[in-house]
Symmetry: C2
Subunit: 210 residues, 2 copies
């Protein structure tokens, strides 16, 4: 398949494909003569993965490059996991973090084996700090139930990874699962919020239904 067809079947403009190649997200076509290259199923899969990470996962091009590099390398599964985790986490400077907020988060993760520099731990602590500053209330109960839910999710994630047959499939699941899992839980949370609202307050929450 040549460029025009590649672009057409993938639905991605030619200029954008070239941009991804420049940004080293997508390898050049195979059997490249000076002015003609060949694209196959591998390239289509890769392009679909790229678009998923960018559009559904909301990653930046730079972040996408980082996880793809990890996938292409011979990195071990934990190494890929760590790259994926960092890529979806906003950078949080631990020095700007109120130790009390960190302690609050650590207390809801009691018994967990988590390293201090885990990006999720820092992100959660920042949320705790901001939430309590804005709402001026103790939200420890709220955090605790989130932690319970996080544990269920993490078990599901690991099971899903374990279910893959080989290392390659596992690493891809790590990346895609880490990135899309955040979006999935957010979406399901909104649906669940509507459900819980409507069961608790049967009359008041009808959503634009005459």
């Amino acid at each position: 398949m040549r460029m025009a067809e590649f672009s057409h079947t993938s639905g991605v403009p030619v200029a954008t494909i070239k941009y991804y190649q420049r940004e080293r997200l997508l390898p050049a076509g195979q059997n490249a003569t000076p002015n003609q290259a060949d694209y196959g199923a591998t390239h289509l899969d890769r392009l679909r993965l790229i678009r998923t990470l960018l559009e559904v996962g909301g990653l930046s091009v730079a972040a996408t490059r980082r996880v793809l590099e990890a996938l292409d390398s011979d990195a071990t599964l934990p190494e890929v996991f760590e790259v994926a985790q960092h890529v979806v986490s906003a950078e949080v400077d631990p020095n700007l973090l109120d130790p009390a907020s960190l302690a609050r988060i650590d207390s809801v993760m009691a018994g967990w084996h988590v390293s201090p520099e885990n990006p999720g731990r820092l992100a959660a602590a920042r949320v705790a700090q901001s939430f309590e500053a804005v709402s001026q209330a103790d939200a420890r109960g709220w955090f605790g139930r989130y932690a319970e839910a996080a544990l269920i999710i993490a078990e599901a994630d690991l099971d899903e990874i374990d279910a893959r047959p080989d290392r390659e499939a596992k690493t891809e699941t790590v990346v895609v699962g880490t990135v899309l899992g955040d979006v999935l839980i957010s979406g399901l949370r909104r649906a669940a919020q509507e459900h819980v609202t409507s069961t608790r307050y049967p009359s008041s929450e009808s959503r634009h239904h005459p």
Copy 2:
């Protein structure tokens, strides 16, 4: 308090504060004479809320304006909830959605009372579609356990809102909770992933500890 002090105590540059005022996130100072305004605790609170939504919640300025407008209006709690939900959700065109993916998500939400146009439902369906396209596997089990976790979270959210004394506090909690809850669960999920990994594979997952 005048502009210089307002900027200093909040840690936000003067030019940025003026920008927020232009963008109608922040009201002008009180008792404004032609060239002097007064800022008080109300303005500080509002600015802190704005920065939290922008920096921690990752909202755009436009999205922040929309939720603040809802907060300032006399909208009912469900109305504010709906604005908040839309603001944190990527717009998904239902026409581009594979009905099979929608059905998959609906099946894991069996028994839930959720309207078809719930933005979370559509977002989840898009994730289902993308994930299964990329991983070429049936992930219904994965989705189902996420739904279980989402239900726990939604109950916690609603309890937290119910705990607020008055409508004003409730609506603010709706907005802040909706926005920060997504970040919180993502963070805790990463921590839980490390925990579960390290308990399942005791040796292999040590995170840069010599």
